[in-house]
Symmetry: C2
Subunit: 225 residues, 2 copies
DNA sequence: CCTACCGATCGGTAGG
DNA sequence: CCTACCGATCGGTAGG
């Protein structure tokens, strides 16, 4: 013994359980991206840790080392997405003083994010359909921030007379819900289009949906200037 | 051997595979209802045949006897629902000559059916999110009938000038999609409501959503008389 | 319709 | 001593 008291070793493990996740690690990023895509395809219950490991190109034990078990991995994937989404909405619309432009921005950002990455919304659809049993309070808090952006524009618009009275939660479901459904039903749309008459209007893309929501739904709530 | 040539026994089995399903059987009905609720809760991949048997109150082998394997059972559950839905829409709205009243009827019937049985819509949400890999052509055809009701009212309304131009597929996603999302997110809504300020407007019920879709969305598409 | 099982595969963890 | 893994296998359970 040297008699020198050393500081406690820095470790990411506490009683065999990881306390922090290194989001800077490229391995962690590959695992989370792989998990997100397989949770989207097969739902929580249908997803196998082996498949996530195979897609991520790592040994399965590496997932347990870096992140944790299946439930923890699921929670981290969802939290990462909701946090990113809420951050972007708040950042890009914080300075928007016009409630109508703000709601249009909400639609635009939802559409852009769903186009950029449809795996997270698909996983969320599974989670909602399954009864939201695996939603943590932190996840609800993150979604409350997303809901809060819409609620703020509705409240300001109603106060200033720019918007007709509307329940912001109803509007949020119509705007985000329509875009969510048109995101997850893409393969089904293709199957349906093949059975319809060629003369029928084409199946809607996400920008088509966004345009309708802005030009019809939001416009209908806007008072004449 | 008696030497008497008997006719082939009437059987529902052909090379060990069932060719017809007796939908009048109470056992079959219990199996399908149990399967519908568990597919809704756990998605196709997460559903265990043992659990369906337990909820239905039958031995697991009975499911294979009456209906077939897991994929067949899933297909029968979805087909039963889509067929019922399409039948009701066509029956109740066949005589409706007013396109605006017709679209309001589409919203009302969707809402009523989703309230009556939310298990089928939840299973469909799982199926869409998972990429619609298990949708059969018969199922697409059944949905095409549902889509056709909305498309007919839109076409008639645009022809007569009662409705502004709109892609019927866009409108169908906004109407049915909003109601679908507000059906499957019920447990999540409760969790979200608990975190919001008590002064906030209440989380929307399905009738709230239906009222918005009729009074704002459909109204916005309606021309002045 | 049930009992008695099977090939395989599940999420998670051992030692090195 | 530590970190970041790997090859192999654990006790149980899935669909059939």
């Amino acid at each position: 013994m040297t008699g020198v008291t050393r500081p406690p070793k820095k470790t990411a493990l506490d009683h065999g359980r990881r306390t922090t996740i290194d989001f800077e690690s490229e391995t962690v990023c590959r695992i989370l991206d792989a998990a997100e895509s397989i949770f989207a395809e097969n739902c929580y219950a249908g997803t196998r840790m082996d498949e996530i490991a195979a897609v991520a190109g790592v040994n399965k034990a590496t997932i347990y080392y870096h992140i944790g078990g299946k439930e923890k991995l699921y929670d981290v994937v969802l939290t990462r997405h909701f946090t990113h989404f809420a951050n972007r909405l708040e950042r890009e619309l914080a300075d928007c003083a016009d409630p109508v432009e703000g709601l249009r921005g909400v639609v635009r950002i939802h559409a852009e994010e769903f186009i950029r990455n449809n795996n997270a919304p698909r996983t969320i659809a599974h989670e909602l359909a399954g009864g939201s049993r695996r939603i943590t309070p932190e996840l609800v808090a993150a979604y409350a921030r997303i809901h809060g952006v819409t609620a703020r524009f509705v409240a300001e618009g109603m106060a200033s007379g720019r918007l007709r009275p509307v329940n912001p939660a109803v509007l949020q479901v119509v705007l985000a819900g329509s875009l969510l459904v048109n995101t997850i039903n893409a393969p089904f749309r293709s199957q349906l289009a093949a059975t319809l008459d060629p003369g029928q209007p084409p199946m809607p893309t996400l920008p088509d949906m966004a345009a309708f929501l802005e030009d019809v739904v939001i416009a209908a709530l806007t008072t004449m200037p």
